[in-house]
Amino acid sequence: MEKVSTVEGRAYPFGMKNVDTDIIIPAHFLKTVTREGLGKGAFEALRKDPSNVFDNPEYAGSPIIVAGDNFGCGSSREHAAWALLDMGLKAVIAPSFSDIFSGNAFKNGIVTVALPQEAIDRLMEVAETDPITIDLEAQTVTTPFQDRWTFEIDPFRKYCLTEGLDEVGLTLQSDDAIRSYEERQQSEQPWLARGTGLAA
């Protein structure tokens, strides 16, 4: 996974509250076989409205969404995070998030930043015209107009995001231990280590 230290750029001034995962990616996309391409299905229902923020060329390719509270509620589908990732998003700023969504977002390298509603209101204004900067190292959100807020993030998640470690990457930090387990199995229980015999 890519290391994330800052996320900087324009933001979609979305603002909607209680955005559930069905709004982010409707159920009929769940049978697909790829994560890539899910961005096209993201916010499908809202995008039927021609004035929607996601298809406004002003914000095309923005790495940030500014949203209302309880973002990512509803079903636990990881597809929601995949869809946002596929849209090119790297961070969501909202007053609160569903736990499952922020877990799934984190697993996929998307930063979820919780800020008070007043900050969100201000960011909605700024986003109309100017970029926003999230500094993960300093745990701050800033604008070109001297606005500055600090946010909390679980130290473990911060570590994983800044080091670019997904769950697989984390486990592979124990690679030596896994390797010595494998070697022991190879010598003590070779029949288990052999499997189908189709070695890499």
Binding site: T34, E167, T171, I178, Y181, G195, T196, G197, A199, A200
Partner: protein, 483 residues
């Protein structure tokens, strides 16, 4: 090693812990990974996106099962028949691409070894006693029947196992289901596990790994043990286990991926240590009296809704728990049944003999024994027999079982999951009933509006003959207890 007496689960667990974290999470080595087409595409894609490989391709076995139609897969000219449904086809094609790309053994749609993952694993000797086995499918518990610690995982865990051959896990609690005495004539492993789930409830095993113990299991075939462990998940348990013994060793010996020669002797010596030590404590224990188990059927939409075939549909108000009362009422509304109705008068229109619970050769023999020389009842509009694998199919044909089924008026199909969950075209029509040897009678499981009654293969065959749920002992020489 440690001298404290340990349960079978603890022995297998301890043998696979690579390291333990401060919060109690353990990094656990996975010996065998079974992969099918539904839960793997995004896992392989994630590897590709991250530039990762499958760490141990030889410990991974891929086979499609959920989506495959059970109608012929090659036409008269020998060409592959494409899958019509675009999404099903997409999943199959993804696995067909991913397996060779990542160097994983793959049994394709037309291979003799193809079948339901949980039939293929043991059949190939890929699933072995004492191994940790995972698959992106909740019925992975099935492989506990050969004494393996086997459980289902989700797509991100599939990716994790492919990339690292490990999982981050917390140790489960242990639960003993002890069965005392012997099963009566005509009572099968399926009746027993349905009776057990009816007794402990669908949450009875939550957070636990169940070990099934007692003479009944010692005397049971490996096929029967696989059936029992398969449904552990319906009792809420993460996994089910039966200690490996001579019966298991006989079953495993000589299978394609089973240990050979000197390895075999070493393996057996190790497997013989895999049993719960005298004095080892379980966190929870339930005792079942085998003599209480009758041929069993379900009346509702949860696998715990079981009743003996001689019984009646229960009154929802007879349950103590108000939420269970409401659930039972909703079940009866969906099932179109009324309290007090006799189970052996419930007419069925569809028969499904198959699924990872009951599609092995022994299951087909049991059904054939009942169907031999008989015809299906005019009530039956659709009845299919779906062998668990191409090899089971060949074996059944060598024994002439296919003829018995076809002569009786049933359809003999190609292997796969089929009407167990209706991801392929095999579905039970809305409002109609099926007597099904699968493991889940959930609302809509066999098709929207389908009404499922779970039964054993012999009971499904009996229902085919009479057109209603029937005590199979009335059709065989096994005198019913109270007939």
């Amino acid at each position: 090693m440690s001298s404290t007496p340990r349960t079978l689960y603890e022995k297998i667990w301890d043998a696979h812990v690579i390291e333990q974290r401060d919060d109690g999470t353990c990094l656990v080595f996975i010996d065998r990974h079974l992969v099918h087409e539904v839960t793997s595409p995004q896992a392989f894609e994630a590897l590709r996106m991250a530039g990762r490989k499958v760490r141990r391709p030889e410990l991974t076995l891929a086979v499609p099962d959920h989506n495959l139609p059970t109608t012929p897969r090659v036409d008269a000219a020998g060409n592959r028949v494409p899958i019509e449904d675009a999404e099903s086809r997409g999943q199959l094609e993804a696995l067909e691409r991913n397996a060779p790309e990542f160097g994983v053994q793959y049994f394709g749609a037309t291979a003799a070894q193809q079948g339901i993952v949980h039939v293929v694993g043991p059949e190939q000797g890929f699933s072995l006693p004492g191994a940790t086995i995972v698959c992106g499918d909740s019925h992975t518990a099935c492989h506990g029947g050969i004494g393996a610690l086997a459980f289902g995982i989700g797509t991100s865990e599939v990716e994790h196992v492919l990339a690292t051959q490990t999982l981050q896990l917390r140790k489960s609690k242990t639960m003993e289901v002890r069965v005392e005495g012997d099963l009566g004539p005509g009572v099968t492993s399926k009746d027993l596990i349905m009776h057990i789930i009816g007794t402990i409830g669908t949450a009875g095993g939550t957070g636990h790994v169940i070990e099934y113990r007692g003479k009944v299991f010692e005397e049971m075939s490996v096929e029967g043990r696989l059936t029992v462990c398969n449904m552990s998940i319906e009792g809420g348990a993460r996994a089910g286990l039966i200690a490996p013994d001579e019966t298991t060793f006989r079953y495993v010996k000589g299978r394609p991926y089973a240990p050979k020669g000197e390895d075999w002797d070493k393996a057996v010596a190790y497997w013989k240590t895999l049993h719960t030590d005298p004095g080892a404590a379980f966190d929870k224990s339930v005792t079942i009296n085998a003599a209480d188990v009758e041929p069993t059927v379900t009346w509702g939409t949860s696998p715990e809704d079981t009743v003996a075939i001689g019984g009646i549909v229960p009154d929802p108000m007879s349950f103590a728990d108000p939420s269970k009362q409401r659930a039972a009422q909703a079940s009866l509304d969906y099932m179109g049944l009324a309290p007090g109705q006799r189970m052996d008068e419930v007419e069925v229109q569809n028969i499904f003999i198959g699924s990872c619970t009951n599609s092995r050769i022994e299951d087909l023999r049991a059904a054939a024994e009942v169907l031999k020389g008989r015809k299906i009842h005019p009530n039956i509009k659709w009845g299919i027999i779906v062998p668990g694998s191409g090899l089971v199919k060949m074996q059944a044909e060598a024994e002439g079982l296919d003829k018995i089924f076809i002569d009786a008026g049933l359809e003999w199909r190609e292997p796969g999951c089929s009407a167990c969950l209706g991801m392929n075209p095999d579905k039970v029509p809305a409002g109609e009933r099926s007597a099904s040897t699968s493991n889940r009678n959930f609302v809509g499981r066999q098709g929207p509006g389908a009404r499922t009654h779970l039964v054993s293969p012999a009971m499904a065959a009996a229902a085919a003959v009479t057109g209603k749920l029937t005590d199979v002992r009335k059709l065989t020489n096994d005198a019913p207890a109270l007939a």
